[in-house]
Symmetry: C2
Subunit: 338 residues, 2 copies
């Protein structure tokens, strides 16, 4: 079997790897129908996150179950399934509370840019679609594995409410799907902070009512101006830098909610500033598993099409070009077909 | 009229000040029935917060309305009233959202350790009791002006739920009233983190089911041990130091809620640690005005007695001894009678 391996900064190779096998009786083997490159894959790709040895890549996936371990009861060979980037047992206290990405037995899936994939804790991780989907649904179903679930969690954590104002910081795939999530939850006004024309366009298609191109203090001033000096009810922070976090916190009204899903890199928050902002702050790795059944329904019934964030599709053997396109911002998100 | 003035570190004097007068038509003048010394008064008293000129002190108060400005309609001379440390108009968007301590026209009350007090924005700030209270209710009514409302807000922000586990970090008056608030909201288990015997006793009286004396990482380990490794559902952070904030965040379960009301001094939060803790974080200066009607009812009907935190009562002219007693931790909280 062949899959993607990262050897070092900007050195992705598509090469022969051992075929995955059932190791634990709770595992499932999946024939990957579609995988993709994540914004977070770019951290090690760019050398910002160190790689000490050749490392398989990929944590977003959907596909056909090929084989299941002897303890697996809810998933059968032949089903089309989607799972989260964190495998979870879905029974521990953290899972039961809806935080499957903090599962006491969680395992990060790291080998999904390949034709075959072993998924641990299959019963608690994978959710099957009603039947085998048509090919045109694949991108939207694949998006549920991470970016759509993450954008959705940002909107849930930001307490998006019907008729209220939501601001989205970040115009990557997650931010764009944060816009779609806020729209789906009925936000009355959705302000996307973006300075890239093609992304602004998709943001509008997903439901953004306003675009703000300013950043940092200027961006905050613009949001305040647009909300009669009050601030936004909800802010979805989908980047993870110091600037984006401060932009989010600065844009909120007292008592408003910031949902943050961009993995923070070098972010430090001043306690006193947070205190006087009166902000509700919640975020973390999205508990995608919590949302999968609902999101599969929404995609299946045609109510949402998160797959639109994939603006480039490549055969899996061209995975290196996929990374390059995202690194150079030529693509928002790249779908890979084995 | 005489009142308390801070001249510099540990130099409080009781001396003649100008009589307060109605300045704006929205003001009220109050004959102070009881005032007190706040934990936060100790920051400038200890010289940690600089004082550049003699400064009147005091922001907790209740008393009889003596005179009202021409625009005041909801409060009448002769009524017994309680107000928050932040005067608020109670009509602006932030007030309407329940964040009166972020009122667009808020003013900090700073001259309450005196026999007479001018309260700005009287209609939006003061709440009258059903009638003139008996003397034995005074301590509990006075507590509503700040500490009880602040402990209550900590419990609200920490999302205390019936039957669930709440941890209270800090055994000052606010922490102890956080215990009382958690009890009133039906928490099943209330763990007070305290190493001072008299305060442990009062915590138990207010409803604490467990006492933890360890602090920092040891305190966190103890809470994890007591909650089967899961962590607490709610943590009330009532101190405001780096250690107390980390203790609170470390003690929470993924998806749990930290309510923080201790004014942060030199606190910096690491974004990545917050992210992976999956914590809900909310706090700030308590919007006491939001809770005053409900809390007055609870005191009036004898359901809560927050006044028990006052373990020393002094005539106002001995205010300096009141500061000394709290500074030396001989008293939890000192009530002053003009």
């Amino acid at each position: 079997m062949k899959g993607a391996m990262l050897y070092g900064p900007r050195d992705i190779r598509f090469e022969e790897r051992d075929d995955p096998k059932i190791i634990h009786p709770t595992d499932a083997l999946i024939r990957v129908s579609a995988a993709c490159v994540c914004g977070s894959d770019l951290w090690p790709y760019r050398g910002i996150q160190e790689i000490t040895e050749p490392t398989p890549m990929g944590h977003e996936y959907c596909g056909i179950v090929e084989e299941v371990g002897s303890d697996v009861t809810s998933i059968k060979p032949g089903q089309f399934v989607i799972g989260s980037f964190f495998a979870s047992d879905n029974t521990c206290p953290h899972c039961q509370a809806g935080y499957q990405s903090s599962c006491q037995h969680r395992e990060f899936v790291t080998t999904a840019q390949a034709s075959m994939l072993r998924v641990p804790l299959a019963d608690g991780t994978l959710v099957a679609t009603p039947e085998i989907p048509a090919d045109d649904l694949l991108p939207s179903l694949l998006a549920l594995s991470d970016v759509m679930g993450t954008g959705w969690f940002a909107a849930v954590a930001a307490n998006v409410q019907p008729g209220k104002t939501a601001v989205v910081v970040g115009d990557g795939a997650v931010g764009l799907l944060g816009v779609l999530s806020a729209k789906q939850m009925g936000a009355g006004r959705i302000i996307a902070m973006s300075r890239h024309e093609p992304r602004q366009k998709l943001a509008r298609e997903f439901g953004a009512t306003d675009i703000v191109t300013e950043r940092g203090d200027e961006g905050v001033a613009r949001i305040k101006e647009m909300t009669s000096g009050i601030g936004a009810d909800s802010v979805l922070e989908c980047v993870g830098t110091q600037q984006s976090m401060m932009q989010a916190i600065g844009s909120i009204r007292p008592g408003g909610y910031v949902g943050y899903v961009g993995v923070p890199h070098g972010v430090a928050l001043d306690g006193e500033a947070l205190f006087f902002a009166h902000v509700h702050l919640h975020g973390g790795p999205a508990p995608v598993r919590r949302f999968l059944p609902e999101l599969i329904d929404l995609v299946w019934s045609g109510k949402i099409s998160p797959g639109k964030v994939f603006d480039m599709t490549l055969p899996l053997d061209q995975v290196a070009e996929g990374y390059r396109a995202m690194d150079e911002r030529r693509a928002i998100k790249v779908l890979l077909r084995p």
